[in-house]
């Protein structure tokens, strides 16, 4: 096969892996601090992408058309709004039902996801139809044979790496991160050390949701199109990635995200006649891995998380 094609697939795989990893890290953070699966995560991502699009249209209407200013405001508004949404969901839905069985949290957040998805479909103008997402980043490209390297993709990859590394540093090098890890390992002892448990949970949900908004924007910028159902598949993929990596382990989530994208890419390359089956292939392999290692690839050595 042509090296240019392979490079193109690799680039595509890296972009998708980044998006999946960002979603998976959210799942793993929520599970870490509260032992819950928050199934509305994918639809929160959708809301983030639509919030970004609405912000863009608002900026256009206001006559602010400088692309650098546009992208900056779109990213900030979307992340801040969705971080707040994540904290509100934690405060009003997830924390109040903490003492219920975890399955209830899973079901209730599944329903919340449907509510968010339908809200986008019904209340966003023409929300039932796919919406074009503007190319807010410079689209200059460099063509090498069959490989077309686009500047916006490079910017997104670099930004994605920066966000993941930043999250990692936040968790491992700051006082806030220390509190999040302590709560994940032993909630009660963390409280006994003077950690404000509720506040840490809200911040963690804000952080994970902000990452989802970022992933949603990346998705929109990459495909130049978003739709109200985009979070369903991204949520399922992000969740699978977090599980296959080892739920509760942040490195596992990142690994899982890139693994899933890698499998999709392999599926697309290996099955050129049937690349529509790449998701089937990827999910199939994930199922096989889970059968082989039920607790994920990166197993927790000691019984706690993050």
């Amino acid at each position: 096969m042509d090296i240019g094609f392979l490079a193109q697939y690799l680039m595509n795989g890296l972009m998708l892996g980044m998006i999946y990893a960002l979603v998976a890290v959210g799942f793993t953070l929520f599970f870490g601090v509260l032992d819950v699966i928050k199934f509305s995560h994918g639809d929160v991502l959708t809301v983030g992408a639509f919030a970004g699009l609405a912000t863009f249209l608002g900026l256009e209407a206001a006559g602010i058309s400088h692309p650098a200013i546009q992208i900056l405001i779109v990213v900030i508004v979307s992340i801040v709004l969705i971080a707040a949404l994540g904290a509100v969901i934690a405060r009003t839905i997830v924390l109040p039902i903490r003492s219920a069985p975890p399955l209830n949290t899973l079901l209730i957040t599944l329903m919340l996801g449907t509510v968010l998805r339908e809200a986008v479909r019904l209340f966003y103008p023409q929300g039932a139809n796919p919406q074009p997402f503007p190319a807010l980043l410079p689209t200059n490209s460099l063509t090498l044979g069959n490989f077309n390297l686009r500047l916006d993709n490079v910017i997104m990859l670099v930004a994605g790496v920066a966000v993941i590394v930043g999250t990692q540093l936040l968790l491992n090098r700051t006082k806030l991160g220390l509190a999040i890890r302590a709560v994940a390992q032993d909630e009660e002892t963390a409280r006994t050390m003077g950690v404000n448990f509720t506040l840490i949970v809200l911040i963690t949900f804000a952080l994970g949701s902000g990452l989802a908004a970022f992933a949603g924007l990346m998705n929109g910028l990459y495909y130049n199109e978003i739709n109200f159902g985009m979070g369903l598949l991204l949520g399922a993929i992000g969740f699978s990635s977090a599980i296959v990596g080892g739920l509760g382990n942040i490195y596992g989530a990142i690994l899982g995200g890139f693994l899933f994208a890698g499998l999709q890419t392999i599926g697309a390359v290996a099955l050129p006649f049937a690349s529509a089956y790449k998701d089937v292939f990827a999910f199939g392999v994930i199922i096989a891995i889970m059968a082989w290692r039920p607790t994920g690839l990166i197993q927790e050595k000691i019984s706690e998380r993050v």
């Binding site: 509190a179 890890r181 032993d186 006994t192 050390m193 950690v195 448990f197 706690e304």
Partner: protein
Amino acid sequence: MSKADTSGLQVSDVYTAYDKADVLEGVNLEAKPGKITCLLGSNGSGKSTLIRSILGLTPPNRGNITFEGIELRGLPTHKVIATGISCIPEGRQVFPKLTVEENLRIGAYQEDSAGEIQRRFDEVYETFPRLADRKAQLAGTMSGGEQAMVSIGRGLMRAPKLLLIDEPSLGLAPLLVKENFNIIRRINQQGITVFLVEQNVHQTLAISDYGYVLSKGRVVASGTPKQLSKTKEVHEAYFG
């Protein structure tokens, strides 16, 4: 200093229940400032529940708990801690996947001054030189005795006015138990009020200034160590 500021820990008529079953049924006791006060009792007498009630982890249904005149009942745990209380929990409860240094640092979570935190690190490392050698080790990979050092050090990183210690000798080798009690005495000599919950009668009474005996959720005896070692309630509480 107002008069209330020197009133230590006061527990008055505290009732605490898990679900509907009362575990504490009207507990009254006091930990005087600067002293070591102990609470003795067998398994299931409600000792740990009292610690949980003080910390707000299992809030009491009735009664009052005050520290230096501040009502603790109804406060979330981090606000109880903010009044100057620190706890060395039962079973040590180190964070297994945090390093020794991170475990200690989270003990000083409510302290913002980097200089003050460093001063406390120096103090703890001076008390437990072995921890200084193992700063970067994950606490979960340490022996029980070493974890006890981490747990005590973590409690001291708070620089508390009142230190609650829940069963420090549980699961430790006799030699380490003795060492632990010596450390508790030294902590107290630095001016820290100690409220010690224990099953180990003799060594506990040997270092305490005053003691209470808890049985089935009630205080059944109290007095100086000398008085307590003679009372039949102490013997009944353990052997009856």
